[in-house]
Symmetry: C2
């Protein structure tokens, strides 16, 4: 089981951290011992919109080798939508990979062609832009359609991460992780 977390300049840190926390607990709490996860980028250092700098694990690596890909949102998405190098990199995801995104990350999936005829969601303020990529824009917090899972704004990243935990390791494991995160607000609606 291999999971890639995509990072880029001007991402929203909480978009990334919200899903990164529960998903990495699959390994750190001992549920999926052979889980491998990497923070992947086209740059060797990334600056979040809020200012903090992160150092990715992998730079310009092959995204076709992952079971799950996660794309956070953030102000940086605006530039990514016309960044042909970045979009090409994302397009190189394998067909059987589960592709996930939160907030503006859903627009990146749209630009990379993953949303055609799919139900998806994004931050409420971005839904009008998402409708350029698909007619099926949902207001639900988590939307799964085939191998695509999208979530709404910023904090819904936590719900998306927990949803992925449940898909990978079952409801009991998701509940144990949720309890350890002291999070009673989990919802997909």
């Amino acid at each position: 089981m291999r999971i890639a977390f995509i990072v880029y300049d001007d991402l929203t840190l909480l978009d990334f951290a919200g899903a990164y926390d529960p998903i990495t607990r699959l390994k750190t709490m001992g549920f999926i011992k052979d889980l491998e996860y990497h923070i992947c980028s086209l740059k060797s250092k990334v600056k979040a919109f809020e200012g903090v700098e992160l150092i990715p694990d992998k730079v310009s690596n092959d995204l076709s080798e992952y079971d799950y890909i996660f794309i956070p949102g953030g102000e940086g998405v605006i530039k990514l939508l016309s960044d042909s190098e970045f979009i090409s990199w994302i397009k190189n995801i394998a067909k059987d990979t589960v592709v996930t995104a939160v907030c503006g990350g859903s627009l990146v999936l749209g630009a990379a062609g993953f949303l055609y005829n799919k139900s998806a969601t994004t931050h409420p303020s971005l839904m009008k832009y998402l409708s350029k990529f698909t007619e099926n824009v949902s207001e639900h917090r988590i939307v799964e359609d085939g191998n695509l899972i999208t979530a709404r704004g910023v904090t819904s990243s936590i719900d998306l991460g927990l949803y992925i935990c449940e898909k990978i390791a079952g409801v009991e494991t998701r509940e144990k992780i949720q309890k350890q995160m002291d999070y009673s607000a989990y919802t997909t609606k």
Copy 2:
């Protein structure tokens, strides 16, 4: 208005990001234009427990110059409790600074002598350790006592961040930030 976010090896990223997001929105959404915030550490690079590396803004700087200090939790707290250099650094906070912590970060405040006769909280699994520093351990999600504000486990960092937003800029601003974060679960109880 100056705020310091303390980081250290083996912190929980979401403990940090949960409060960092709403508090930095005070500036990025235009509510407190002269807000200054720094990520402060005793090291020039910090590795979170989950693996991601962060680059602090300030190293070994004077913490007496801040209006608010925020300390996240994480596995690394165990080492910090007997790290005299780190504890001395934290002790150097000014008397009128508002000192805030989430999860295991509350234990760091205990080791630095900030909890004497104060009500405080921490992650439910750590409450028995917190009781070594104060008799007034609360199970509430956010606990304010004088210039000390503590929060429970991991995700309560988001609530703490929003609580601080409300203290600094009022309830309407907190509600606007909360809406932008797509977070309906805010609670202090």
